[in-house]
């Protein structure tokens, strides 16, 4: 067992999978000479050479499309986007090509590709570079969408993603790259579609994924100080979604707060809240709450930037309301 960063966990997964399978290669902006914009691919160019660690021009549609083509042709590309904000340019390749190919070819073609990079707000990056696009990807049948929040899950899920025969969108976060956690020195995989109980509890269920999962745990700590035992579920995998785990927990606790840093309208969080409301209706003691990013373009002012995000204090307040306790 070693304590490593989320960034190192991703790098280790890439390294192991490239060593294991000669078809795996990495491409993206500054992944090679610069060792990656966020140093995830540190040392890989030196180890695997420029054929397998390819620096690309600043042209997301172009290199994403090249990755999709390479995947159809039999390779296993990992396409790194410097951020998901830039991936908007590449959406046509992801949604119209990668996600459709297996279906429209009647199963003759598959697209074993991983699209990965930081998603969601970081700090001081203003409106255009602080967006969470989880729901943009999760909306599309044919894509698998992963959003781990710990180094161990990042490692195990990225390895599963690279080995999967279908396109996977992998959501990371600039703020999470430096987060540390224990990761087994033994090789392991984390399966898709399994939520993790990040903290067990009996009084209410807090559901989150990616970076806000940590805020959910902080809120659970604060609630414990008030004698409230919150259960925190980390989805890890958005699509496929571990519905059974959510329903089991909420039916037990009777109260649910969903946390998602995306905007609230038609988000992963709002969909999860809908599913829980529908499937756990008879066991709910309060409406399912959604703590989301505020419904505004991200402000540059740092105080406002923080206020626009689902911070622990907001999650705690929503939990107290769900318990009919004074906030």
């Amino acid at each position: 067992m070693s304590v490593i960063t989320y960034r190192e966990a991703l790098g280790r997964a890439l390294d192991e999978e490239m060593a294991r399978d000669g078809r795996v290669f990495l491409m993206g902006e500054e992944v090679g000479e610069y060792d990656g914009a966020y140093k995830v691919s540190k040392g890989l160019l030196a180890k695997y050479g420029p054929d397998r660690v390819r620096d690309t021009p600043i042209a997301e549609l172009g290199f994403t499309g090249a990755g999709v083509g390479a995947a159809i042709a039999g390779l296993r590309p990992v396409v790194e986007w410097m951020t998901h904000n830039f991936a908007l340019l590449a959406m046509d390749q992801v949604i119209n090509e990668a996600a459709k190919m297996r279906y429209m070819s009647g199963g003759q073609l598959s697209v074993p590709i991983v699209f990965r990079g930081p998603n969601g707000p970081a700090e001081y990056l203003a409106s255009q570079h602080s967006q969470s696009f989880a729901s943009f990807w999760a909306h599309v049948p044919g894509l698998k969408v992963l959003a781990p929040s710990t180094p161990a899950d990042a490692y195990g899920l990225l390895k599963s993603a690279i080995r999967d025969d279908d396109p996977v969108v992998f959501l990371e976060s600039e703020m999470m790259y430096g987060w540390k956690g224990e990761v087994s020195d033994q090789e392991f995989l984390v399966p898709f579609g399994k939520a993790a109980v990040a903290r067990p509890g009996r009084d209410l269920t807090i559901i989150s994924f990616s970076k806000p999962a940590r805020a959910a745990l902080e809120a659970a700590d604060a609630l414990a100080g008030r004698g409230i035992e919150a259960e925190v579920l980390d989805l890890r995998s958005i699509r496929p979604l571990d519905e059974a785990a959510l329903y089991e927990s909420v039916r037990r606790t009777g109260r649910c707060v969903v946390v998602d840093e995306s905007w609230p309208f038609a988000s992963v969080g709002s969909h999860v809240a809908y599913l829980v409301s529908r499937e756990c209706f008879d066991r709910l003691d309060a409406p399912v709450a959604l703590v989301s990013g505020e419904d505004v373009p991200m402000p540059y002012n740092h105080a406002l930037e923080l206020a626009a995000q689902p911070l622990a204090a907001k999650i705690e307040a929503a939990a107290l309301r769900a318990l009919y306790r004074e906030v």
């Binding site: 008879d282 066991r283 709910l284 003691d285 309060a286 009919y324 306790r325």
Partner: protein, 425 residues
């Protein structure tokens, strides 16, 4: 958040009230349980008590003013809050359920609610009627409630209409139902509820179900000449059999299912026990349909297991528990409780040693089963030991069943209870 304080029904018949005096001034804070104002109702002058801690932001109906039940009489909230649009008159607000004699009831200890703990009970509110009636009649309308509160109320047998909602807008939530269930007798036969001090007598209209029970049992008792035969039967073997049969079963088979089966076998050997008086003829039934009396908060019902002679104990038990569950949900169809040829009533679980029951028409006999108790026993050789035995009291309609015939049946039944293997012969 500011909210409107509504005129409550302070008596079951109150439709409107006159505010004779405000005891709290605008801008002043008050505690849950304190008197906000005095209200003159159709019957008396009553205290209107606060259901929570708050500040009286604005009085909407002044002293001498009248307000219909459900109308806003004041705006309450946090200190310094703006009553805002809530101060506008709001006709047509739906009336909340009247509180059964709430102001006259004793209050629990007046400890102020701490923010760290769920708020303590506010006012003693009676739960559902005690079995046998005599409780207050239910308010007609249901308060808003959470789905969990509704599910829980069903499970605990609590009538939501008596719940005081502590959630926003008076929503009844889980804690309110649990609080109510913890007071009411509906939670179980051992439940107790504090007697309201100075409560007046009430005239409770008879429910349709109670009227049917009254009519049918009077008819039976006053037309069928009842006679009773009593025996005690050693139940050691039967209990051992049951224990053995239940070993490894996830859901144990009830003792009642065994009794139903043993009665069915005894009836097969004495078919006249399964016949009915019809004035100019006696019906001899082909199917052994046995009813089991089940006590519900609002009265007795007798689900019937059909054709028990042809069914095994496990099958009977399964049907019985499904029927009882349905009965508790008030979901029994007439075909599921009518037409028992023989009935069993078992009050053993209440510790009743023995009792006599009224025949459940169209049957001609009923078996009253007492508690299985350990008792001293003189054996054939004169030595004294102990055994576990229960009283079996058979009630018969003498028009159909003569004393000796009933006694023969009871002897067979007692021998089956004491040695269930005999029922196989």
């Amino acid at each position: 958040m500011a909210e409107r304080l509504l005129m409550m029904a302070l008596s079951p018949t109150m439709a409107e009230g006159t505010i004779t005096k405000w005891k709290v001034a605008e801008g002043s804070a008050f505690k849950a349980g304190s008197v906000l104002c005095e209200v003159e109702t159709d019957k008396a002058s009553m205290d209107y008590e606060a259901s929570k801690d708050a500040v009286l932001l604005k009085i909407l109906v002044g002293e001498g003013g009248k307000a219909a039940v459900g109308m806003g009489i004041a705006v309450i909230g946090a200190a310094g809050e703006d009553p805002g649009p809530l101060s506008a008159a709001a006709p047509g607000v739906p009336a909340p359920p009247p509180l059964p004699a709430a102001p006259a009831l004793p209050k629990p200890s007046a400890a102020p609610p701490s923010p760290k703990a769920p708020e303590p009970a506010r006012e003693a509110v009676p739960a559902v009627e005690a079995p046998g009636g005599g409780g207050p009649s239910a308010p007609a309308s249901y308060p808003p409630s959470s789905p969990l509160a509704r599910s829980l109320a069903r499970e605990l047998g609590v009538d939501l209409r008596y719940a005081r909602g502590s959630g926003p807008g008076g929503r009844v939530v889980e804690r309110d139902v649990r609080e109510l269930a913890s007071r009411g007798p509906a939670a179980g036969p051992s439940g107790s509820r504090p007697l309201p001090a100075g409560a007046a007598d009430r005239r409770v209209p008879v429910s349709g179900k109670r009227a049917v029970i009254a009519r049918r049992l009077s008819e039976s008792f006053f037309t069928a000449p009842h006679f009773y035969l009593k025996r005690r039967a050693d139940v050691g073997s039967l209990l051992a059999l049951r224990e053995g049969a239940n070993a490894g079963r996830e859901k144990p088979i009830s003792l009642n299912a065994f009794l139903v089966k043993l009665c069915a076998e005894a009836i097969v050997r004495h078919p006249y026990m399964n016949s009915g008086w019809e004035g100019d003829a006696i019906t001899e039934r082909s199917s052994v349909d046995i009813g089991l009396a089940v006590a519900l908060p609002d009265g007795l019902i007798t689900p019937v297991v059909r054709d028990c002679a042809r069914k095994g104990v496990a099958a009977i038990d399964e049907e019985l528990s499904a029927l009882i569950a349905k009965a508790r949900d008030r979901g029994l169809a007439p075909s599921e409780y009518e037409g028992a040829g023989f009935t069993i009533s078992n009050l053993g679980s209440y510790g009743v040693e023995e009792f006599t029951a009224i025949i459940n028409p169209p049957g001609s006999a009923i078996l009253a089963v007492g508690a299985a108790l350990i008792e001293p026993w003189v054996r054939e050789d004169g030595s004294v030991g102990a055994r576990r035995a229960m009283a079996l009291t058979l009630g018969c309609d003498h028009r159909v069943i003569d004393g000796a015939a009933g006694a023969r049946f009871l002897a067979t039944l007692a021998s089956f209870v004491e040695d269930p293997g005999k029922a196989l012969l």
